[in-house]
């Protein structure tokens, strides 16, 4: 009885649909992670600035993305902007924008934390050998702080991958939604379908997130030596 549900995965083009859904998930996640981490690193460096105004502006940006749920941001960008301001964007583009902004906000705090945690003598020695500010960051501070950001950055990346399940709320048909469509259609004849479909989705998420964990472990080991 329980096994009959597994056939649902291979009926018609169901498998192909699930993998297409996975592609959508991966596309949004990968673009957002790349844009978010790059932007976040830059903002993180800027946030170590002494200027109060700059600090405050970016602090507010970070807090806005921390306090307001991602779902609300998705709705604002997808439904409120078109209805009130006539700015109409494709759902997937909206997802990438929101996820990148969220990723950048969180990443900036991680990078800032790593930068200010570096011993003060690193800055002072850099200045002593005549490096200017850009050189100081590029050759001394950023390489060292990147090591420290790695665990949190990987954590952020896997969180972003998993949060893509929210995208269905603005009509992006990603892997979880495809799964639900398949379950709802099969449920009438095959009540155990949900077990197998969700099980398979779990496996798909796992093969997306696990390599990231492995990569981080390897990098940490490599940099430690």
């Amino acid at each position: 009885m329980l096994n009959s549900g597994i056939n649902v995965l291979f009926e018609g083009i169901n498998m192909q649909r699930l993998l297409m859904g996975l592609l959508v998930t991966a596309r949004v996640a990968v673009f957002s992670i790349i844009i978010g981490c790059t932007l976040g690193t830059i903002i993180g460096v800027i946030r170590t600035s002494k200027s109060k105004i700059i600090k405050m502006v970016f602090r507010i940006y970070l807090e806005l993305f921390r306090i307001i749920p991602i779902l609300v941001w998705l709705f604002v960008f997808y439904f409120v902007l078109p209805a009130d301001f006539n700015i109409n964007l494709d759902a997937e583009i909206v997802s990438i924008i929101v996820f990148s902004l969220w990723g950048a906000a969180e990443m900036s705090d991680i990078v800032r934390g790593a930068l200010i945690s570096l011993p003060k003598h690193q800055v002072e020695s850099g200045k002593a050998i005549g490096l200017n500010t850009i050189q100081l960051y590029w050759y001394i501070l950023i390489p060292q702080s990147l090591k420290r950001t790695l665990p949190s950055a990987i954590n952020l990346a896997t969180r972003m991958i998993k949060t893509t399940a929210l995208l269905v709320m603005i009509g992006v048909i990603e892997v979880v939604k495809v799964g639900q469509q398949i379950i709802e259609h099969a449920n009438l004849k095959n009540p155990t379908a949900s077990f197998w479909v969700y099980g398979f989705i779990f496996f798909l998420y796992f093969i997306m997130c696990y390599p990231l964990s492995k990569l981080s472990q390897r990098l940490e080991r490599k940099w430690a030596s």
Binding site: E11, G12, I13, N14, Q16, R17, M56, V57, I60, E63, L64, F75, Y78, F79, V80, L81, P82, A83, D84, F85, N86, I87, N88, V168, M169, I170, G171, I173, K177, Q180, Q181, I182, I183, E184, H185, A186, N187, L188, K189, P191, S194
Partner: protein, 287 residues
């Protein structure tokens, strides 16, 4: 510090709204465009009518194992495309969730919503409904072993509800004292009932009939509570042109008994013999 911080946040929000308002004024066609993106001319020019449908609510709107949209709503959507643009393939299905059905119209994502959309006074303020093509009431499904046949039996128990449905509004208004567990998606709500996370599940009775037919351990022992509701296509508020066209179309379809045929084709196999066509079908006449 916190007071100052909130002041700052407030200032930033005001500022960003201002900036957005300004950029919106930049492309000043915004006011002109309202309603026009979905005018009949615009649809004809585009060559596709965009219709919001469900993708996981058999038998109204779902996707079969070949990735094709199917269901009662879909039959009507294809017919609309055929009569409006001359070919039933000239329809673009925008897959939607129950709680987004109003927003997709408001934000011009679609021309028509055809997603088992129940007419309510609150919704009528936000969108324009055409003539109905189905009628429905709220039902309550429960396990056979502990069947709920009266609302009073729910005292002290949990009732499972889907967000954005008429059942949610009805129970919030009339039975606020019953503990209600709400889910975003149909799949989750029915899973919750199977997992025993609630004693019963309230939803449109038609959806429940179909579900219990395939899940014989459950029964719909409260078949109809609240008022009889109608299900109708909806268009963006103020899009009178498309609304009039839809009403005319629905009446023409009514004369040829289109919806009885649609019932026989997609609903009867799902509901079984417990439900008659006249119980759920309305032939496109205004109420």
């Amino acid at each position: 510090m916190t007071k100052k911080f909130f002041k700052n946040v407030f200032a930033l929000i005001t500022l960003s709204i201002l900036v957005l308002a300004l950029t919106a004024c930049g492309n000043d066609n915004s006011s002109e465009d309202k309603g026009k993106t979905s005018s009949i001319d615009a649809i004809k020019e585009r060559g596709k009518v965009r219709i919001a449908v469900f993708s996981d609510k058999p038998p109204f709107g779902y996707i079969d194992e070949n990735g094709k949209n199917q269901g009662y709503d879909i039959l009507l959507a294809k017919r609309i495309a055929k009569d409006l643009l001359g070919d039933e393939s000239k329809v673009e299905f925008i897959l939607t969730e129950a709680q987004n059905r109003v927003d997709v119209l408001k934000s011009d994502k679609v021309d028509i919503t055809l997603a088992n959309f129940t007419v309510t006074p609150e919704r009528s303020e936000q969108v324009d409904f055409a003539n109905p093509y189905m009628k429905v009431a709220i039902g309550v499904a429960s396990p056979k072993k502990a069947a709920i046949s009266d609302i009073q039996q729910l005292d002290g128990k949990k009732l499972l509800i889907n967000k954005g449905t008429t059942a949610e509004t009805y129970f919030a208004k009339n039975y606020a004292d019953i503990e209600q567990v709400k889910y975003d998606q149909n799949t989750e709500t029915f899973e919750a009932l199977k997992d025993g996370r609630g004693a019963a599940l309230a939803h449109d009775n038609t959806l429940l009939y179909a579900w219990v037919k395939e899940n014989p351990d459950y029964v719909v022992d409260i078949k109809s509570i609240g008022d009889l509701d109608y299900i109708a296509p909806a268009v963006k508020k103020g899009n009178k042109e498309l609304l009039d066209w839809l009403n005319e179309e629905l009446e023409t379809l009514g004369k040829e008994q289109f919806f009885h045929k649609a019932f026989d084709e997609v609903l009867r196999p799902v509901y079984g013999e417990n439900v008659q066509a006249d119980d759920v079908v309305v032939e496109g006449k205004s109420k």
